[in-house]
């Protein structure tokens, strides 16, 4: 009996081992890391980027994953599984990131709110899922994302490919992606509160204790990001994991906010508090200070000295970081307050402009037509191909025939994907694929006509103007000049130190930048006009028409006392006879009565006047 069973034994064993490995991988704890990157920018600005990464070793496609939660927030997980989300990228930003001065941030974000989502291929009704998802997300983060309806949502064709793992069966032109932006969205403390509640330590311990709404909102730029995507669980990438990356970026103008105008900064001055603890749940808690431009301490000195100083080579450029292990410092010294003291006289760090940066603006004048120009600078010494995506509201009617892409006076060939708007239901969607010549400025320009809105479509502050969301430029650049983004494999900042993938002799780095959002004014009516018109008309009717009509239709006829008396005057006469007993009152009473009776109005005219009045009241 045992002999025939033996061929099946290895298979059984394999299945058994497979089950064990599966169960151990499920039982593996989620991994949470907290990191803070501080980078001194030009002109005394300091960029602080908080990066909280939760890696959940489970597949986002497996429904059983979402029946038990450990460190991953359940409120978010339920939303993801309910609407079949594969990837979700949300950013809420106040202020504009100035690429030319500040280089590239870790996660680029446009002013206002931006949301783009890849749905699982199994989701059938994607538009319906998107509508429900934006409602759920807006409830989760106290934002007005529910305004991302079909009027401000597009299906990007080339830009916004999945950042995480995607199956090979996903076509490159999949329809299961949605992109929407709200450039007017306000970001305030009520957005930070629910966002930080998703962190395993909330803001009770660890780097999140540095969150101080007053300092963030006084800063020049402040951005909250939340990114969920499937990534590799291991190096070999045989298993999937879910990565939740929460990031908070702040740019502080140290020089102008300090009382003495000194460029010195410390954690206390940036965030109002020093660090006393690391999040106990975090596998790693580090602070990195970018000292690429200050390796020889020519500009400033850091105290305390870092745990290690690490230099990495990414592409052609080297980056040096002073790395502090928060746990080690807070255990030995109780507090960690990194301080940068500048040499006297202070020499501020100057960054060179990054490879690609843009400037976008409105052209033209008046309230009828207008144009949008986007200048795209390429500072590389090689040609660079980019993707340009523009999303315009329906009421800026784009004239597609005016689209021109010009470099140095010469037209640049481009590939275009354009979906024209439909009034009140779909925005304009313009995507371009073009090549920027080396060391040049390329101008993308088109014109538009401003549409009239219906008077109920105007917002309460219509005279403020209407926002046009940022254009998005995506490129794979060979340079890492002022580049801070982590590699694609992980959102953790320390993954920059990981070995470069083998065989990548010419690595390329994903740059996605957002241009300025624009404000256009539309022809706006005077909303009190109907009221004014009614008032004016009524006044005219009452004063002018009434008196003129009265004058023109009233006839004065002499009273003939010999004419036949009516019933009323008979009664009057009778009453006067009775009251004649007192002579004084009778004498006074008779005179006015006769004057009154001197004018007799014609009854026909009276009725004519009455009907006219009825007419005029109906019109108004």
């Amino acid at each position: 009996m045992a002999v025939p069973a033996s061929p099946e034994l290895p298979t059984m064993l394999f299945v058994f081992i497979f089950i064990i490995t599966c169960s151990t991988s499920v039982a593996q704890k989620d991994e949470f890391t907290e990191e803070l990157l501080i980078k001194p920018l030009s002109r005394g600005y300091v960029y602080s980027h908080f990066q909280f990464t939760t890696k959940w070793n489970a597949s986002i496609h497996d429904l059983r994953t979402f029946s038990h939660y450990n460190l991953f927030p359940k409120s978010l997980g339920e939303v993801l599984v309910r609407y079949g989300v594969q990837e979700l990228h949300l950013s809420q930003t106040q202020g504009l990131w100035r690429h030319k001065l500040w280089g590239y941030p870790v996660h680029d974000a446009p002013p206002g709110a931006e949301l783009w989502v890849w749905f699982k291929p199994s989701v059938k009704d994607i538009d319906g899922a998107w509508t429900d998802l934006v409602n759920a997300v807006s409830g989760l983060f106290c934002s007005s994302l529910n305004f991302l309806d079909s009027k401000s949502t597009i299906v990007p064709r080339w830009s916004f490919r999945p950042l995480g793992l995607a199956s090979k069966s996903t076509s490159p032109f999949s329809r299961s992606v949605r992109y929407g932006a709200l450039p007017k969205e306000i970001v305030c403390t009520e957005n930070l509160t629910p966002w930080k509640k998703l962190l395993p330590c909330d803001s009770k311990a660890g780097l999140s204790t540095l969150f101080n709404a007053f300092h963030f909102h006084e800063a020049n730029y402040h951005s909250l990001g939340l990114h969920v995507r499937p990534i590799c669980a291991d190096e070999a990438c045989t298993q999937e994991a879910i990565e939740l990356s929460q990031s908070l970026s702040v740019v502080t103008d140290v020089v102008s906010t300090s009382y003495t105008g000194s460029p010195n900064w410390q954690i206390r001055s940036l965030f109002g508090n020093h660090l006393v603890s690391a999040c106990p749940i975090a596998a790693k808690s580090t602070i990195m200070v970018d000292i690429t431009n200050n390796v020889d301490q020519s500009s400033f000195r850091l105290t305390p000295s870092p745990t290690i100083t690490d230099t990495i080579k990414r592409g052609p450029h080297e980056h040096t970081y002073a790395v502090y292990d928060v746990r080690q410092f807070t255990q030995s010294n109780r507090v960690l307050n990194i301080e940068a003291t500048f040499n006297q006289p202070p020499v501020l760090v100057e960054l060179s402009p990054p490879p690609i940066h843009t400037h976008r603006f409105i052209t033209g004048y008046g309230l009828e037509d207008g144009g949008i120009s986007c200048l795209i600078h390429n500072t590389l010494s090689s040609n660079q191909s980019i993707l340009y995506l523009d999303l315009l509201p329906w009421f800026t009617r784009v004239k597609f025939n005016t689209l021109e892409v010009v470099n140095n006076g010469k037209a640049v060939p481009y590939k275009v994907h354009y979906v024209p708007a439909k009034d009140r239901s779909r925005p304009h969607h313009l995507e371009l694929s073009l090549t920027l010549w080396a060391n040049s400025v390329t101008r993308v320009h088109f014109t538009f006509t401003r549409a009239y809105l219906k008077w109920t479509e105007y917002p309460p502050d219509a005279n403020h103007g209407f926002y046009i969301s940022s254009a998005v430029i995506t490129a794979l650049v060979p340079s890492t000049l002022e580049y801070t983004g982590p590699p694609q494999a992980s959102s953790r900042l320390d993954s920059m130190f990981a070995n470069q993938p083998l065989g990548a002799s010419k690595p390329r780095f994903l740059v996605r930048i957002h241009t300025e959002s624009l404000l256009v004014s539309l022809p706006t009516p005077d909303f009190s006009m109907p009221y004014n018109v009614i008032c004016l008309t009524c006044t005219v009717v009452a004063i002018a028409f009434g008196s003129i009509h009265n004058l023109t239709t009233r006839r004065l006829v002499p009273y003939d006392p010999a004419s036949k008396k009516g019933l009323l005057s008979k009664v009057k006469a009778f009453l006067q006879k009775i009251f004649k007993k007192s002579p004084t009152t009778a004498g006074q009473g008779d005179q006015p009565a006769q004057v009154n009776e001197g004018i007799q109005e014609l009854t026909e005219d009276k009725s004519a006047l009455g009907t006219d009045e009825k007419h005029s009241s109906q019109e108004s």
Binding site: H61, A136, R161, I186, T189, T193, T238, D461
Partner: protein, 363 residues
Amino acid sequence: MATPCINKFSRLTAVVFIFSISCFQGFVYSNSATNVDSVEDFFKSGHTNNWAVLVDTSRFWFNYRHVANVLSVYRSVKRLGIPDSQIILMVADDMACNPRNPRPATVFNNANQNINVYGDDVEVDYRGYEVTVENFIRVLTGRLPPSTPRSKRLLSDERSNILVYMTGHGGDGFLKFQDAEEVSSVELADAFEQMWQKQRYHELFFMIDTCQAESMFQKFYSPNLLAVASSRVGEDSLSHHVDPALGVYVIDRYTYYALEFLETVKPGSKKTMAQFFKVCPKHHCISTVSTRTDLFKRNVTDTLLTDFFGGVRNVELLTETVSLDKIDLPPNNDLTNSCSKDSCATNENTKFTFPDQIPKVLI
């Protein structure tokens, strides 16, 4: 002919009902003479949960005081125990992060700047353009789209006491929303009636601080409504004081004195609504505070302030054990059937890849 019959009948049933209640109460008293006080307390309030709908209807920086009004009330009800999940806060404009605010992320209701009413823990449910008459009426009546998140819904029931606080610019019979539209007193009264018919409240306290505020509750006709307004018809509601650093008035008079009173209230307080109605005498408010109590069944001198401003969580203890069934996860087969080609890829021992960020066809 039919109507009086029904009336007579209902009166009869009401009498029977009251009789039965009194019998029942007598039974309770006789049975537990020692716990009389606590039992009485338990039956008196008649509600099991508290909700608050706080609405600021004014946009623009010069209406800072209305935002400060509503946030102050928000802070008070939160302090007295209504959780954020049961407060619907509608703020029509962003004052805290307004570029004109010299102290970003703060809203103060006093020039002394003792209390930042915006705080670090504020959850605004409807903000900016979302504050419309339509949304307000929909929240009250519960007629919201199915995908509306819980935080934006008034999930009250027939045992809920609701506080509705409104502030903004109003006139005789209307309250302006966002300077663009207005809700009329008739619409509001009908919305409350609809709430009553749908058993969405047990008792409702309506509080309004606006000019001619009294006109907003004159049309109410639904039972168990209690209302207070900052001014009579024909009167203006005035602001309290200006903060020279902000350049705007920071709070309205009625709300200022109401808050002064609320600050003295602690969660277990025995202060009554009658005391609350007297918080702003005419020499303080300049306008005449007006109340409406005819629709309210209880006596306001016996009604606790915390019945509306505080949160209760009456816990009912069960004596018997409830056994819960263990929910088994669906077996693997069910999931494989439901998943698509893509989602079942994990079963194969394949290597996953990151897709190209720029489609190959374009390069």
